[in-house]
Amino acid sequence: MRAALLVLTLALIWAAITGSFNPLNLLLGAGLGLVVALLLRQSLQGRINLRRLRAALSLLGLFLWELMVSAVRVSIIVLSPNLKAALNPAIIAFPLTVKSDAEITLLANLITLTPGTLSIDVSEDRSTLYVHVLALTTREDAIADIANGFEAKVRELYA
């Protein structure tokens, strides 16, 4: 089921990139998609999960919104005449509640593109994420911000 969706999507993307939607070209795209689906058949087990799809879409929406907010906020800091007052850089240890490698990777990348935070490193036992904060108010605020925003959504996606 997921493989069929993958083949269809890849065929449409192929047609769009090559710039012609005639049936023969679509068929070629579907053929190439089939090869890809065959190569990936191990990880395509299971059915399309509507709940996960919705979680992914909601995560994407939140991410795009936060990305714009973060760019605007960094710009405001850059343009402030007194840089020293606007900045309060710190490295804080964020306790991870998500455990798998995939979740940590996704969360770390999301954190980097969100307001005022940049992930630096993960501790060896995968329990702590070290995050650089551009303008720290309090440590608890920064941690609660990530935990209630992205971490909750990521956990929902992989639940």
């Binding site: 710190a90 990348n109 070290y130």
Partner: protein, 114 residues
């Protein structure tokens, strides 16, 4: 009429994107140390480049070009945090990151990246 509207929208996206690019480079010049500069380059830079590619997608009026431009946007959004993270991790271990003018550093107890 619709075409005009699309052109105006594309122009708007392009100007905003160029403004973010300019702000990113000003930030890289003005901010005091490496890790704060990294914020400007990775956030404002990615948004600026992405918005300009989005403007190309809107202004091209060609599905083939638009799809390629959007794939480019996705590519930038995936790779920018990756490279920023790797560079931050590497430079923290190499003592390039200024650690003296920082409010708190809870990573100090750990001896650099492993």
């Amino acid at each position: 009429m619709i075409v005009d509207l699309a052109i105006y929208a594309g122009c708007f996206l392009m100007l905003v994107g160029a403004a973010f690019c300019l702000l990113a480079s000003v930030g890289v010049l003005r901010l005091p140390d490496l890790l704060t500069r990294m914020h400007a380059a990775s956030k404002a830079g990615a948004v600026g480049g992405g918005l300009i590619l989005l403007a190309v997608a809107v202004l091209s009026f060609d599905p083939a070009v638009a799809v390629r431009a959007i794939i480019g946007v996705v590519f930038i959004l995936i790779t920018t945090p990756l490279s920023a993270h790797l560079l931050a991790r590497a430079s923290y271990g190499a003592d390039y990151a200024a650690k003296n003018n920082i409010a708190a550093d809870e990573m100090k107890s750990k001896s650099g990246p492993n």
